[in-house]
């Protein structure tokens, strides 16, 4: 099953300068009762985004009309904790295509890549620069070029390169799916099973 192809993105960004944002914050466990992949965006960052009475928490960045865009820029160690892929679904469903941080938790990074969300790792210094660029101008635009593996602050033209596994890059660029690949090598898997005994 083909997934959405990832093209170059130019967008403003939403800043979340908090470290160790765990997947329980991204989507709390009580919203994991669904049996489909859709609709998790409504509860993205639920307990930060809404007060107990269900009213939006005005202090939280997603409720601040100044900030919007397809890029989420977050503090170090984003996506730690639970393996729930619902966190990646929530981020994707809300409309983010890219998450930038100085460090991602392993399972979250895999889950994001499997759902067409690109995790971009930048240095801590560059991350600080991104936060201050947004602080100066909430509409500051950023360009994410997956093909060239470049991340750019559009206004200044300052660029950094980022790493991505070449296989995963091909998957994103072409909309390939890991499961299709594994199904295509089923003969190899059966041979492996026979030979190992």
């Amino acid at each position: 099953m083909a997934v959405e192809k990832f093209n170059t993105i130019i967008s403003s960004a939403v800043p979340l300068p908090i470290e160790n944002v765990d997947t329980d914050q991204i989507i709390p466990a009580r919203f994991l009762k669904a049996t489909t992949r859709e609709g998790f965006g409504d509860n993205l960052f639920r307990d930060w985004r809404y007060q107990n009475n269900g009213e939006p928490n005005e202090d939280f960045v997603l409720n601040n009309p100044d900030y919007s865009g397809k890029i989420l820029i977050a503090g170090k160690n984003f996506g730690s904790g639970s393996s729930r892929e619902h966190a990646a679904w929530a981020i994707h469903d809300y409309g983010f295509k890219v998450v930038v941080s100085s460090f991602f938790a392993d399972i979250f990074r895999n889950n994001a890549l499997n759902n067409g969300v690109l995790p971009v790792v930048v240095s801590e210094d560059f991350l600080a620069k991104l936060f201050s660029a947004i602080e100066q101008d909430a509409n500051a635009e950023f360009k994410v070029d997956l093909e060239a593996q470049r991340f750019e602050i559009v206004a200044t033209g300052e660029q950094v390169s980022f790493d991505i596994n070449p296989y995963k890059k091909q998957c994103l660029v072409n909309g390939y799916d890991d499961i299709d690949y594994l199904l295509s090598i089923k003969d190899d898997i059966e041979r492996f099973e026979k030979e190992r005994v």
């Binding site: 329980d24 994991l32 049996t35 160690n77 904790g81 892929e85 399972i107 499997n114």
Partner: protein, 465 residues
């Protein structure tokens, strides 16, 4: 070439390698629960394939089940639908299911080892980050997302980049009153909540060797809390003795043959790790967490760090954490009042944990200000607790044993700690809202939890042993 324990197991399961890409890793045992599997079953059906190796797949509902009145239909409509979906999917695909009223039901990471499904040298995955628990047997076990659950259902393989290797040695002998939970909370407090990211960790050293299988499971269980892909411990006589005679363990001559093979799973002397850390067992004391990630832990007798001990980049997150917890930098931990005690979870919901709590509370009484939830990890643990008289001891001290499930560890069911209340929990995560919106979690060992339950406040259990 000398190899680490991890390499020996990983390399033996590589079907093929993608150039510049991940390995195709064959999975021996796939554990499935109700929360992270429905979308994966739906996915394979959409592709028109069925479960490739149902005989290597075992399912049980645990995350989203009530811990009282399990014989009745689940009240919450969404929870009931999710649990029923698991039942339907297992029936349709011929997957063994230990449903809510089956004598083998329980938290997936408690039942795997208990039934002898978990064995040395295996690769084990589950759509749950605490799959690392099974590493205690010398298995390569790790948590995966739902897309990866779909991969394993469809092909018995996952695509995984090979992690780096770290060894953590805990040398010397542990002091009295210091448990496996204190060891791992201590390690995480030193390594930090992200310090293990990208690594698979082997735990070694005399202090690790001296732990029971259940203690080793507690240590490996929380390796994810320092960001590690998984944790593992080389199998030894303690391991073989634990497995022997269990439901799905090899029997008779087959067991002897298996032990011979299992004895080959150790790190060769000259094998090289990407990183190696050493800790002294004598430095470890009973631990508790005070913040909102498992790396924010300290000796119970210590104070919360003062602001000058926190580096500038982390100050904002630290202050946010203190604000959430209702604590101030520099506060003493001991003596702080507590409202709830939760004993349970895949970290500390096994029979030894209940024995430890029962031994401590015997002849004592639960403090009036404490609401205590004691939740067995499985139906078998529950049964054993009745047979050993643990339930009677608990009841005499004012406690009640609930029914098996993940319960207040992640509060998906009704077991939620109310907003603003303090809970000393034997579980694995103290994240904001983890045990219910606004709940304040302090992670500790079952022994400490028992001491808190009878005193009503944070206390070093050694002071009242």
């Amino acid at each position: 070439m000398p190899k680490t324990l991890f390499d020996k197991i990983w390399d033996a399961h590589v079907v093929s390698e993608i150039e510049d890409g991940p390995s195709v890793l064959y999975i021996d045992k796939h554990l499935v629960h109700e929360v992270t599997s429905p979308q994966a079953f739906a996915g394979i059906e959409k592709r028109g394939v069925s479960v490739f190796r149902p005989q290597n797949t075992v399912a049980t509902p645990d995350h989203n089940v009530p811990t009282i009145d399990q014989h009745l239909s689940i009240k919450d409509e969404l929870s009931r639908f999710q649990v029923n979906t698991l039942t339907k999917n297992c029936e349709k695909h011929g997957v063994t299911l230990y449903g809510l009223n089956h004598p083998f039901q329980g938290i997936v990471h408690v039942i795997g080892p208990q039934l002898g499904l978990t064995q040395p040298g295996m690769t084990i995955v589950c759509g749950d980050s605490h799959t690392s628990t099974h590493g205690a047997f010398g298995a390569v076990a790790f948590g995966i997302g739902t897309s990866e659950v779909e991969m394993v259902l469809a092909t018995q393989c996952v695509l995984q980049p090979k992690p780096k290797k770290m060894r953590i040695n805990v040398n010397g002998q542990l002091k009295e009153g210091v448990t496996a939970k204190d060891v791992i909370l201590y390690i995480i407090s030193k390594v930090t909540a992200s310090g293990g990211t990208g690594y698979f960790v082997e735990f070694a050293g005399d202090a690790i060797r001296s732990l029971s299988m259940e203690g080793r499971m507690t240590v490996c269980n929380m390796s994810i809390e320092m960001g590690a892909r998984g944790g593992l411990i080389a199998p030894d006589e303690t391991t073989f003795e634990y497995i022997k005679g269990r439901e799905f363990a090899p029997k008779g001559e087959e067991f002897e043959q298996a032990v011979k093979k299992w004895k080959t799973y150790f790190t060769d002397e000259a094998a090289v790790f990407d990183k190696e850390l050493n800790f002294e067992a004598a430095d470890i004391e009973p631990m508790i967490t005070y913040g909102t990630n498992p790396g924010m832990g300290a000796k119970i007798v210590a104070n919360i760090p003062s602001l000058d001990e926190i580096n500038d980049k982390e100050k904002l997150s630290f202050e946010k954490s203190m604000d959430y917890m209702g604590f101030s930098a520099g506060d003493a931990l001991e003596g702080k009042p507590v409202d709830y005690v939760f004993v349970g979870s895949c970290t500390n919901g096994r029979i030894e944990d209940l024995r430890e709590v029962a031994a401590f509370v015997k002849g004592r009484k639960k403090a009036d200000n404490i609401t205590a939830w004691i939740v067995p990890g499985s139906k078998q643990v529950e049964k054993q607790a009745h047979e050993e008289g643990i339930v009677t001891v608990l009841e005499e001290a004012g406690f009640k044993l609930r029914q098996p499930g993940c319960s207040a560890c992640l509060a998906m069911n009704d077991d939620k700690i109310p907003k603003g209340k303090y809970a000393v929990s034997t579980s694995n995560r103290n994240f904001e809202g983890r045990q219910g919106p606004g709940a304040r979690t302090l992670l500790a060992s079952p022994l400490t939890a028992a001491a808190v339950a009878v005193t009503g406040k944070i206390v070093d259990p050694r002071k009242i042993l």
